[in-house]
Amino acid sequence: MKKKLIEFTINGNPRKLYVKTNELLLNVIREDLGLTGTKYGCGTGECGACTVLIDGGPVLSCLTLAVTVNKKKVTTIEGVGTDENPHPLQQTFVETGAIQCGFCTPGMILSAKALLDKNPNPTEEEIKRAIEGNLCRCTGYVKIIEAVKLAAEHIGRGKITSGKVLEAQKEGRVH
């Protein structure tokens, strides 16, 4: 089995790693790096549970050879926000109830983050298009779309405080 040295950045930290040429990025992230936030769902590019960002764009880590991320920037859910200081998306997902079982959430947040990073003011249609590659079997997507809308609003105001969702509900902006 051939191994190759790759250098890449994972969540802002440079790493050097020997990987097998037929190893998938998903397995390197989960098993070698111990970052289990990225999920294995279908393995065939249907569900989006394994979504990570490579150089800012969402891709499927279960269909990416680890050797190909040499010299690239990989972001997983562990690189988004912290416990003390969650990303606006993470906070609005919690507050709107956009998380139920949580399995799709890491991929969903990364897809949404890629959208908001590029387009801070998306329409509902653009949000739907951005998360089309992430299947959720719990929420029915309505709350997820609300969460992304709210996060965009909060990012636009430059600040997020909890309770904003209740406020938005009172004002009738979300249900």
């Binding site: 037929n22 065939t44 590019g45 891709v59 050879l65 897809s111 951005a130 590659g133």
Partner: protein, 308 residues
């Protein structure tokens, strides 16, 4: 009904790649050609990998060598050139979809690129991969054929240009020799007073096409149809089908709804969907094609009329 096991759709490990291979990352096209001349028969070229790796996981494809094309800078571009458009083989669907040039001047390619897969897939998958995989359900080939696209193929003995329509030989079969590489797709800019449309029907918004249709209508100054292209894909035969019968019915005529309806029926009669098709029965595909071809032609006609 569940798909048969031999199709590799069930009871397959998709967590790891069992196939072991030697991996190469050439940086120039000529390096690829040299490698292919030596090992072409044992080599798979990988670009986005969204089809190839699934096939490798399912054991449908095994390969001794894997050559990654994504590190070749000269293979990814969208360039306007002499009244046409050149798209490099490893240009991703996302790049096509986000190109302002394509959106404005080649809306058919924009519509087809946008209809393909999900954001993640479009970030990875390439136009060259979509073509060379030669799946009858691919989305970009019908649009390209409707624009009379040519494939630029480079091999040891030099380069050749081939109308894309002649590139496809069957399911997963192309005219590419084992030492050849598709490097570019060349599209002529549509003549004045042209309208195009791409329509697709699929089980979910991001699924492969159950049926897709790409059409182009070019009008004379007097409003009659000068030239038409009617291309149907989505598993209606071993390759996409360009309905010359439909095109002949339109050309030279003033396009009215009744004629377009008749044309759509003619196009549907040329389709040969497999009875074992997974996504829909042949009956369904043929019925839907009548509706989709008609809608696409009506849309293209409307668009052609607004062009001056």
């Amino acid at each position: 009904m569940r798909p048969k096991k031999k199709d590799g759709c069930i009871n397959v490990i998709t967590r790891i790649l069992l196939n072991d291979f030697e991996y190469f990352e050439p940086e120039t096209i000529s390096d690829v050609i040299t490698f292919l001349a030596k090992h072409g028969k044992d080599t798979k070229l990988i670009a986005g990998g969204t089809d190839l790796l699934v096939d490798m996981k399912k054991g449908r494809i095994k390969s001794k060598f894997l050559v990654n094309l994504m590190k070749i800078p000269d293979l990814s571009y969208i360039i306007e050139d002499g009244g046409g458009l050149r798209i490099g083989a490893t240009t991703t669907f996302r790049e096509i979809e986000e190109s302002q040039l394509i959106k404005e001047k080649y809306p058919l390619l924009f519509e087809a690129a946008q209809a393909m897969g999900t954001v993640q897939i479009r970030n990875m998958a390439t136009i060259g991969g979509n073509i060379c995989n030669a799946l009858p359900s691919a989305d970009i080939p019908p649009a390209l054929v409707a624009l009379d696209a040519k494939a630029k193929i480079v091999g040891q003995s030099g380069e050749r240009f081939l109308p894309l329509e002649e590139f496809f030989m069957g399911i997963r079969k192309t005219t590419l020799e084992s030492d050849e590489l598709l490097t570019e797709v060349h599209v002529q800019s549509p003549p004045a007073r042209s309208g195009t449309a791409f329509l697709k029907i699929s089980r979910t918004a991001s699924d492969l096409a159950t049926l897709n249709v790409a059409v182009r209508v070019t009008l004379e100054n007097n409003g009659a149809c000068k030239e038409a292209r009617v291309v149907v894909g989505g598993g209606v035969g071993p390759t996409l089908i360009r309905s010359r019968r439909a095109e002949t019915l339109l050309e030279g005529k003033i396009l009215e709804e009744s004629l377009i309806e008749k044309t759509a029926r003619a196009a549907s009669e040329e389709l040969k969907p497999r009875p074992t098709s997974i996504r829909a029965s042949p009956f369904y595909k043929i019925e839907v094609s009548k509706v989709l071809v008609k809608r696409a032609l009506m849309k293209a006609l409307d668009r052609a009329k607004t062009q001056t």
